[in-house]
């Protein structure tokens, strides 16, 4: 069954067509990856799903329901969580507050309760702290940095904190925009492990945009290939790897062999 179904989605900015009749499905409880060259429209697609961009045409169905007209915060409340390509942590807050912020939509206390920090508001804050600590901070192994301002962290750790914040949103679909870009191998391996655990133990569907082919082929259950705003193909990693159109999109029409090598990297190197 598909948790997210995108059909006929088109988006353009002025004359630029970012997405053209994009259709694909995200099967529930899988790691689904969108790949494609830079500028293919991957992040635009994420922004449409988040509700930040309004596509001119097409539908996005989530758990069978059309999302058109649902504002971004409401989509977050429905369980659509995400991370961003250029880390979007809140620099004025500590790691802990950034993560707690993810739980915002699941909390209720209003201004008055907040001002007094009393009764339900206080209980709710303490409960969230407990949940964040036990389920997320321990799991992602970031307990040593919880009090640090995010600006002081390394790139890899910032990415991890962003993942933590998305998990605090109690996602059903977790959208990760280039989760391992710019990381060293160790950090990539950690991230891959987290993603697989999130799918298996938390039962969360992961929708990911990623350029690192080694990791994509390793952990994806389902891949969609986007080029010039159009879906070229979708399927299992093994099928996608062999598709000549995909190879062409990535490497032009030249040296197919080296392209094939790139798409099917040496397991040792990955």
């Amino acid at each position: 069954m598909s948790i997210l179904e995108i059909s006929d989605l088109s988006l353009s900015f002025g004359g630029v067509k970012a997405l053209q009749e994009v259709s694909f499905r995200v099967p529930e409880n899988t790691v689904t990856t969108i790949i494609g060259p830079n500028g293919a429209g991957k992040t635009s697609l994420f922004n449409c799903i988040s509700g930040f961009y309004k596509p001119q045409q097409g539908t996005i169905r989530y758990q069978g329901k059309d999302l058109a007209g649902t504002r971004p915060p409401a989509r977050a409340a429905l369980g659509l969580a995400r991370t961003f390509q250029n880390i979007a942590l809140f620099r004025g807050m500590t790691v802990l507050d950034n993560i707690k912020l993810g739980a915002h939509v699941h909390m209720k206390s209003g201004l008055l309760g907040s001002l007094m920090y009393f009764g339900a508001a206080r209980r709710e804050e303490l409960a969230i702290r407990e949940e964040v600590e036990r389920r997320i901070i321990d799991f992602l192994e970031i307990d040593h940095i919880r009090r640090q301002p995010v600006a002081s962290l390394s790139y890899g750790l910032q990415k991890r904190v962003e993942l933590a914040r998305a998990l605090a949103m109690r996602p059903k679909v977790l959208m990760l925009d280039e989760p391992v870009a710019g990381m060293n191998r160790e950090e990539k391996e950690d991230m891959a492990r987290f993603i697989l655990d999130i799918r298996e133990e938390w039962g969360v569907t992961v929708l990911m945009v990623e350029h690192d082919m080694g990791m994509v082929m390793d952990i994806s259950d389902h891949i969609a290939v986007l080029n010039f705003g159009q879906v070229i193909t979708e399927g299992l990693p093994a099928e996608v790897q062999k598709n000549p159109e995909v190879i062409r999109a990535y490497l032009g029409n030249s040296d197919i062999d080296s392209l094939r090598k790139k798409l099917n990297p040496d397991r040792e190197a990955a």
Partner: protein
Amino acid sequence: MRIGDAKQTYQADEAIWTSSTQKFWFSLLLLILLVFPFLANAYLLYLGCLVGIAVISTTGLNILTGFTGLISLGQAGFMGVGGYTVAWLSLNTGLPFPVALLLAGLMAAAVGILVGLPSLRVKGLYLAIATLAASVFLHFIFAEWEPVTGGMAGLSLEPAHLFGFTFQSDFRMYFIIVPLAVLMVFAARNVFRTRVGRAFIAIRDRDISAEILGINLLRYKLMSFALSSFYAGVAGGLFAYFYRVVTPESFPLAMSIFYLAAVIVGGMGNLLGGILGAAFMTLVPEILKLLTAALTPFYPNAPVFMSPMLEIIFGALIVGFLIFEPHGLAEIWHRIRRFFSLWPFRN
């Protein structure tokens, strides 16, 4: 050097004061605030009250500008709404002061929400200009709506009262103003321990991402406007009770800039900074007055130059802090504290 603050529960870790040293210093501060009016002379008492009012208003503006990132040039206007509300209530209803102050805050909050409405469409400097427009309109209303505001002459009001007890002296007003200031700073501190405060900061740091993470921007921006102008309204109400007269010129545009300067000099997005900034900016003119008085025997012309010097110092403080110490007095304070808490080891 202080070490060892191992905590056993998350609850303990979420508390405002996490060590007994902090509790000690804070209790000492409260004690000083309590005995201050009994030892201070009339002038110091007057200053204490002014600082208290400024702390409330600066904290309010800090919530909006420092923590939510919405710059406002309307703070004096919101204070005016509070001031006129208290004055009108005092003349027409004779309500006791806590009710009047609450209504002043609520009235200002309502106006604040109205002014904040464009904030979803306009951002940054455009918003600053929208708030500027609001303060022009408010000034116009204060000056022209004679039946209610008394026009250019303004309104004179009765002293604050509660259960037949009147607060006609600075000494008595101190016991309204300062406890209220402490209380309201604490309330603000609480806000930033909870989801509401986090939402404010998130909007300041990255509004678009905040929205995608589930924060309703309009709702929280308006909430920040409401809260900030509530503080301004209460401060304006206290101002009215303190001076017992309000006129359109009591709340000039320069006052809005004064509070912005207090937030900047103290440290944007830092509550302690707001307190330090409010105290500092209130005391600067007074220190200058003292200096002038000391110089007058030698330079009889000194008083003539006081007001221009004040403008210059005021501007230079804003520019200087922004260029050289953008995190304000709070950062200087933290540096001093770090030095002592690590002492005798080098930082």
